[in-house]
Symmetry: D4
Subunit: 149 residues, 8 copies
């Protein structure tokens, strides 16, 4: 049995790679899924493929539409959605993904530094686990799948 885990949120550190490596090291039957994490590609995919726009808002809208195809499909298949909130940027799309995941009845893991706890309190109340390191996420997966502590 394969567990599908979608890693949403922050794309500027290597937290996904750490979780991926941890999952591999422990031999967990986990299919890791994620958004496109190449920032430039993610911003420009709409106009690159579907034609340029003069106004920034429509440039952005076209890209967001294309990225939504990926997000909707992968979020829909996920058993577990882990969302990381980092130090920088607004990260509203991360919280937006968390809201969708909660409403869809997905298991939700929040990964954030302690100082973000207060700002994330509504999101955390809808989650099953709050982690501070990628290693903790891997350990949660190992326990949840294998009962191994």
């Amino acid at each position: 049995m394969i567990w599908h885990v979608y890693l949403s949120g922050e794309i500027h550190t290597d937290w996904r790679e750490q979780i991926d490596a941890g999952v591999h090291d422990r031999g967990l039957p986990v299919q890791i899924m994620a958004p496109v994490t190449d920032h430039a590609a993610s911003d420009d995919c709409g106009v690159e493929i579907l034609g340029g726009e003069d106004k920034k808002v429509w440039h952005d809208r076209k890209g967001a539409g294309v990225n939504a195809i990926r997000t909707r499909t992968l979020l829909g298949r996920a058993d577990i959605v882990a969302v990381r909130f980092g130090e920088k940027y607004k990260q509203w799309n991360a919280a937006f993904d968390a809201g969708q995941a909660a409403a869809l009845g997905k298991s939700l893991i929040i990964l954030r530094p302690p100082e973000h706890g207060h700002a994330l309190k509504e999101v955390e109340a809808a989650s099953d686990a709050v982690a501070e390191t990628p290693e903790q996420v891997v350990r949660v997966l190992d326990y949840v799948i294998n009962g191994r502590l």
Copy 2:
């Protein structure tokens, strides 16, 4: 026929009052709904009612749980969810509400200053309208209900 409109997000300016006044002036059949906007009450409701906590994270968790009862009920009844993103704070709960609203199939209106457009692009792609002023939200409601421009 009454239209139910939930106003989510920023609680430090009077945008809800402006929408409420506009709705009243135009005589729209709209039931405005909102979270508890008293910041201190919203933060402390959990420990005030259900008992104190030493650790901030559980203080927050208890409050978020109680507030979630209100949010879940009102969001569930809403026909339209308008979410305002302001200048300050993380506002992850606003984006989280927007994600829930989108997944529940609610009509979604985003209210934000122009400079937040890029950070909100995924949220806006899931919305039906993007406004910059409370007056625009009122005009959308008037048109949607009465066909009046």
Copy 3:
């Protein structure tokens, strides 16, 4: 008990008025609902309220977004959706509404001239009744509500 009936489709003849009059004449407990049928308002509502656009496609997109708020809410409340296909125009939004209504499990009545039967065969196979005149729609409503032939 009030029955909610949404009248979708063609906006250039007075078929909605005929159904409305028929419902009134028979004293049926029916709440008639419809899209905004002022063609110009429907086309321009987006840019009128939310700001102008240079490109036609975004002018249209903004308007379609605002109109979708009305359609989604009223379609969601409808017990019965009647969709009229007329002589002119593409009327893809009518067929699109019919598709949404079918997927949402609404009762579906198609109103069209006989010569459109072949082009509408997939839509009609998903419908409960196919009428050729507004009077027939009124009679279906009277029978369905009162058992009166």
Copy 4:
């Protein structure tokens, strides 16, 4: 992981073959699905198998019923529904499929020549991407699956 893509709409040009070839050339893990595109078979399947009808409307109804079995199953399995609107015919079944896809929460790509943009504005507002060529659809799939631009 296989992505399921249903190609709905116009059946008189080779747009499906072009997408199929493009998907094959790029080695995309995509299962292409489609309605029966043999026009005569699609029109006559009902009476051929289940017995003839004198009246055209029931000839059509029987065929539409049989075709609906295929459409419902494949649409239900699809992650992404791409709908092409061509130059000719009413194509109401294409818009009907798009409405069902939207209501079922599928990702939706519209493929049409620019001059159809206005007539399709409600459909496009519910879509994630609007393309003008089959090649663009293939590129969207490649990006969505592989993050490749």
Copy 5:
């Protein structure tokens, strides 16, 4: 609080009137709903309103379509569906209604003479109560609403 009760099935005895009278005598806050019980009207409504048919099967199909509008709406609003199976006829539509009610999560009461128990065993296993007289159905309603035995 009003309870909505749909009375499906056999239309040749006065069991609905008995339940209606019992509900009235006890002053229960119950809205009784039912199909059109005029057998001729129910059979002919389709062709009467929408135009005649030569073949019996399409005569029947048109009528069944129109009646389905009523059934779908009322079944959808019902809290409780009571289905009576009588001595005569196939009554497949009664069992069909029961199947829909079960799949929709409605409370289900079966009303039948004892000798039909074996033939109804799958239906009864999906029901909440099996009654043999209309009076018992009224008493179930009184208890369920008022806790009165």
Copy 6:
């Protein structure tokens, strides 16, 4: 891609074997599913496994409960539900299955002799195809899967 087809209803003739043979002869990628068709086993499974009952109604209830586990699982996985109504018995469980299938959005094929058309009109109005022979069901499957007439 495998198509899942559940064959519900009459268990006293070899119609399932005919469909199975036809599917095999044509090499269709179909997984045939069915209830337990051993009449005695189906009637007695409850008391055989879970302990005897003095009263027939509870003997039946226990068996129906156990059989419901099979029906619910297989019906839930089915893409297409074909229901046969034969000459004898009440066959209310067949109509009950059809009602569940309709409410669950499954494709529905009715297989019955012509003389049952009137009694089945409500069920047929909810179906996609009405066949009179097992061979016709096989041909519908072949067309639906392969577009082959």
Copy 7:
């Protein structure tokens, strides 16, 4: 706007009356709903109305079926489900109601003495608030509805 609150669980103390009185004292727009709390009536309703049984298990089954009609309807209408676990009895039906409420997406409040916290940990993790006194439940309602602490 009326809030619907279902009070499930323990029926041997006056906790429902306390909540009812508190709601009344504060003038809250709350519709209190509950199971039948007359223990004997609740146990015997099935056999009283639908006929006696020799075996206890079927005596119980008939009663549970009838009570389920009430529970399903009221739980389905509830915005908030409060479940009390007391000192005595197994109270599996209380935990069963809580499981249904959680799966249906209802807001969930647990009311229990502190010593039951460990045994209820899975239930509490799915709840929004854990109270120890009826007064706390009333205060949660007052805050959730009025923002009043």
Copy 8:
């Protein structure tokens, strides 16, 4: 075709091993799923992985959250949920799982000693089978899958 069976409830006897052995002996195509049955690991997983807590209630809450990830995923995949109620402990989580399973439309088998029948009557009324031994559960599975008595 693999059947997914989730074994919920009591973790102090070897009933799961007995069912597993029975399934293996009969060669049934069953995927057995279960919660983590190491009592200490199950209690402590939250604090072990995510950090310690001073208060028992939060120690418990963290563990319950992590265990919920496993339960939600496996319960969601299950065709059949068998819940055992043993002699000792409150076992509210077992009844809570049963409530979730019922609301999710899963097939439900209750396994309990006869003396618990009365306390479980509401749960049993929502179940498809009530067994007293693990061997009976295995026999139900064999019959349901193979029609073998």
